[in-house]
């Protein structure tokens, strides 16, 4: 049985079909990648899985029960955690307090006592490599560390599935390698992952399989190396330079915040 099964999910915004009959499934322990052009529906898909959006059609099953239409907090407590593209930590709180908010409210068993939440925050900060900075105010964190904190906040809810939305965005190639180590470390704790990235060395480096979305529809799904060689994927997404230089290590590219990223501020 698949741990997560997305069956024929569609989502419209007014006249725009953001997702059309998207189907895929994720097995326990997998790191499943979702890639595709800006505006292809990747974040919308994560929003449907995590309950931020209702779907218009289709079904989402999690550990063999339907979670279609459940509110976001229920889905979180059922074991699906997520991060957001634009990180929004609580600016006046420390790193440790920020991580504790996830532990405090997101537990499957309901609320924790603050002391227990802070203790669990220490565990996840250790896992993401932020233990030494736990007493920093978050404004002192660099971009890579803010991304780590975003992962820590989600992990503090003890998810069995973690949805990561472009956590490698804005990192340079060396910082990406360090972040990949963190992803592997978390995965080894038994956390299944679904991640959106524009950084192909991430997809090839850690993903067991990848799904390409284009205009809200699945274009192809399979092993990362095969997917990235597919002419349709090169045409719609990777571009000729990628194909010419022949591989993910030839051109690591960066990412953060597609669509509304930064607008309206």
């Amino acid at each position: 049985m698949s741990q997560l099964a997305v069956r024929g999910v569609s989502k419209r915004f007014g006249g725009v079909a953001a997702l059309t009959e998207v189907t895929f499934s994720v097995e326990p322990g997998e790191i499943f990648g979702i890639i595709g052009p800006n505006g292809a529906g990747k974040t919308t898909l994560l929003n449907c899985i995590s309950g931020l959006y209702d779907t218009d059609a289709g079904e989402i099953r999690w550990e063999d029960r339907s979670i279609t239409g459940l509110p976001a907090h229920r889905i979180a407590r059922l074991g699906i955690g997520r991060t957001f593209q634009i990180v929004r930590p609580f600016g006046s709180m420390t790193v440790r307090e920020n991580a504790a908010t996830g532990a405090l409210f997101g537990q499957p068993s309901g609320r924790l006592q603050p002391r227990q939440a802070l203790a669990y925050a220490d565990t996840v900060l250790d896992l993401v490599g932020l233990a030494a900075k736990r007493d920093y105010p978050v404004r002192r964190l660099t971009v890579p560390d803010r991304k780590r904190l975003e992962v820590a906040r989600a992990l503090a809810m003890r998810p069995r599935l973690l949805l990561l939305d472009e956590v490698m965005a804005g990192l340079n190639p060396v910082e990406i390698e360090q972040a990949l180590d963190m992803v592997r470390q978390v995965n080894r704790q038994g956390v299944t992952m679904v991640l959106i990235e524009h950084v192909m060395r991430v997809i090839v480096g850690v993903c067991t399989r990848a799904l390409v979305l284009n205009f809200g529809r699945p274009l192809i799904e399979g092993k990362p190396e095969a997917v990235l060689r597919d002419p349709r994927v090169i045409e719609a997404y990777l571009g000729e330079r990628y194909a010419r230089q022949g591989g993910p290590d030839a051109s690591p590219t960066q990412a953060d915040g597609e669509g509304g990223g930064g607008a309206g501020q």
Binding site: L171, L238, Q254, A263, G264
Partner: protein, 239 residues
Amino acid sequence: MTDNGRLLEVRGLSAGYGAGPVLFGIDLDVAAGELVAMVGANGAGKSTLLGTLSGLVPPTAGSVQLAGRQLAGARPEATVAAGIAHVPQGRRLFGTLSVERNLLLGAYRRRDGQVRQDLRQVLTYFPALADKLDRNAGVLSGGEQQMVAIGRGLMARPRLLMIDEPSLGLAPNVVDRVMEVIKTINRDGTAVLLVEQDVVLALDIADRGYVLENGRIVLTAPAAELRRDPAIRKAYLGI
């Protein structure tokens, strides 16, 4: 223009925020027509440097000259008038204003009669924007938003265009298109100072690069040399 062909000449520039200094005695030159890349880890001070040059962050010491004119400590509106345009990280568009209004805002200080002509020029760089002028900038794709942000910078008619992480959040093929246009803008005569996490891409299109570490310039060399430098490859390319 100064007599040695330098457009931008920065000497001993230091700056910081309340908590402490971020930049320590930066020396930096950009020649007229040059494309210069600024490389460094997150937190090295790259964005602070751009902010200090455009007047968003007040310097604590040092000088900034553009074509011989002293700009250290000048306010943003004065640095724009002097010829520096800053395309910030994350685009920072006005999402509820139209694409055209966003572009025209780049020219809000100009009183010459050539604003419309420059708008047409921006649309030749970014033809994808031509039929989206009436749309709200917030509904565009990430790549289109980056094009509007660069176009808005160009509408100030800068001598130096500073661009902070244009590849952020963009699909690989869109990144390529944006980089091509930056190269074209530079070939058409505008000097460019480019901050970019994708070091390979940045050094690919740049004439020269600087390496910024912990608020200090530690190296400058032609981009081709930096691409081959084993220490740079290890520290920033991970290879």
